[in-house]
């Protein structure tokens, strides 16, 4: 054992009893399918996970939701994921480049942007151009995350120069600032407005058609449950998956 490995073993040895007690080391009898999905897929994938469990006796679907780039980083660091569904192609490309993709990627949905305003639209926003108004407190995603990258493309396509009061880390943070009334408007995905229900109002704008986010899905290379992973992917791409996604406001994939 090299010195480096010995050093690595010390904290593991220290933590092992604690981790075992937490059940992390516990390997049950039933096979588990671990699905890593972009945060915007939470409600739809939770539903699809349940359908998958019902159709596959004894199989447990473990879902993990986070920003796509977070999830990619975790898979790159060796996380035990079987399926990965990304909110943009750029993050999926990172996995492909690292040879970490088994089957796929295939596009399964598309998402466009919408303006989210507080119920009743107190700032009277009706178009994308209204967001550039000097008195409008606009919140967007930071350019470093997928929804922010989409916002930048939108600005470019519309020839606008938006000056947001905050560039948030995630769509959830943007929505939260609108829901609490801190901001007058936020640029988020259409599906996020659907999920938020009555707490915000979505405003369509014509430029949104020009900036579409494609959602790819793939199985992760070296998965212990490659067969199940493929079946889950088929469920998402098939009629059931497409129905659930459409109900949540996703557009059909651009294939």
């Amino acid at each position: 054992m090299s010195v480096r490995r010995l050093w690595a073993a010390i904290p593991l040895a220290l933590l092992a009893p604690g981790l075992a007690a937490c059940g992390i080391a516990d390997q049950g009898d039933s096979p588990t399918l671990t699905v890593y999905a972009a945060a915007s897929l939470r409600s739809t994938f939770e539903q699809l996970g349940e359908e998958f469990e019902e159709a596959h006796d004894g199989v447990e679907v473990a879902l993990s939701f986070a920003g796509s780039s977070d999830l990619v980083a975790q898979v790159q660091q060796g996380a035990d994921a079987d399926v990965f569904a990304s909110a943009d192609t750029a993050n999926m490309d990172k996995l492909v480049a690292d040879d970490l993709v088994g089957e796929g990627p295939e596009l399964f949905a598309a998402n466009t942007m919408q303006i989210a305003v507080a119920p009743g639209n107190p700032a009277g926003i009706t178009s994308l151009a209204d967001l550039a108004g000097p008195s409008v407190k606009l919140v967007v995603c930071a350019p470093e995350v997928p929804c922010g990258a989409a916002t930048i493309r939108l600005e470019g396509a519309a020839g606008l120069d938006l000056s947001p009061v905050s560039e948030e880390q995630s769509v959830t943070d943007v929505l939260n600032k609108v829901v609490t009334g801190e901001a007058d408007a936020g640029l988020v995905y259409r599906t996020d407005v659907t999920v938020a229900g009555d707490t915000v109002e979505g405003i369509d704008f014509e430029e949104s058609a020009g900036v579409v986010n494609d959602y790819p899905i793939a199985t992760v290379a070296g998965s212990d449950a490659a067969g199940l992973a493929r079946q889950f992917m088929d469920l998402v791409l098939g009629a059931t998956g497409q129905r659930v996604l459409a109900e949540a406001g996703f557009a059909r994939p651009r294939r």
């Binding site: 010390i10 220290l14 780039s69 880390q169 609490t180 009334g181 901001a183």
Partner: protein, 263 residues
């Protein structure tokens, strides 16, 4: 105090978990150091966004540490030197931010100083807009750092006792004179370390800031927020900036140790 005296009474087996604990704390730092890409380190930490985040972090942390001292010293004095009904409860509540997850603090601040918060509308009438401003960052940092200062001072005040103060008072010194000439000099070391702790806590503040203040370069995006954001697109930059924060923390600890040994 010599080290030898301690080893005589300390059982030998205590060194094993102690060493493991030390390794547990130090190993992640070593691991991070091994991941720093030294070639572009300077470029990464001096980029425009990094410099803006560093300057903002320093400015806000100094301001919130000052607010902590201005409010925290009298708070510790009142808690340690007076008796009033409900004091125990108040004391526990004041220390609440110590155990609250900072994101909860952020939500609480939002409903206090936000546009639709408890004080938000009155503040807006006065022309003060806290949301998305640097002031919001200072508020968030002060909220989480204040108890650190109060708790270290209150402990020191109780340990120091009231004997010298009573003597000074019987000799005819007025309360303010007692405070500035007897009490404060007695607890100066604790004031120093408490201030350093508060500064360090303010510098590392993340959860309350991102929940309450937002994130915009040069206005509200402090160093921890910048690190969290850079991690999305440029992990090397995130590691480099993390190291900067570690270096600042080491400097702060070093200063506080030197300061204490001088006193």
């Amino acid at each position: 105090m010599s080290t030898r005296q301690h080893t005589a009474t300390l059982p030998a087996w205590a060194f094993v978990p102690a060493a493991l604990g030390a390794v547990f704390v130090l190993l992640p730092l070593v691991a991070m150091l091994s991941r720093v890409s030294w070639g572009d380190f300077w470029g990464l930490v001096t980029s425009e966004s990094s410099r803006a985040a560093f300057a903002l972090s320093m400015r806000t942390s100094v301001l919130s540490t000052l607010s902590c001292v201005v409010m925290g010293v009298p708070m510790a004095l009142v808690l340690a030197r007076t008796r009033f009904p409900g004091q125990g409860l108040l004391r526990s509540l004041v220390f609440l931010p110590l155990v609250l997850p900072p994101v909860v603090g952020g939500i609480a601040l939002l409903y206090t100083f936000g546009r639709r918060g408890l004080l938000g509308e009155s503040l807006e009438v006065l022309g003060l807009q806290i949301a998305f401003s640097t002031a919001a960052v200072v508020l968030a940092q002060t909220f989480v750092a204040l108890p650190f200062l109060v708790i270290s001072l209150e402990g020191a005040l109780r340990t120091a006792g009231e004997r010298y103060e009573v003597v000074a008072a019987t000799l005819g010194a007025r309360p303010s004179r007692v405070l500035f000439h007897v009490t404060l000099p007695l607890i100066l070391p604790a004031l120093g370390s408490g201030t350093v702790l508060a500064f360090a806590r303010a510098l590392g503040e993340f959860g309350a800031t991102i929940t309450f203040a937002g994130s915009l370069q040069g206005v509200t995006r402090t160093l921890p927020l910048e690190i969290y954001l850079q991690r999305e697109s440029d992990p090397d930059a995130a590691v480099a900036l993390s190291l900067v924060l570690v270096l600042v923390a080491v400097l702060v600890i070093g200063f506080s140790r030197r300061g204490r040994s001088m006193l």
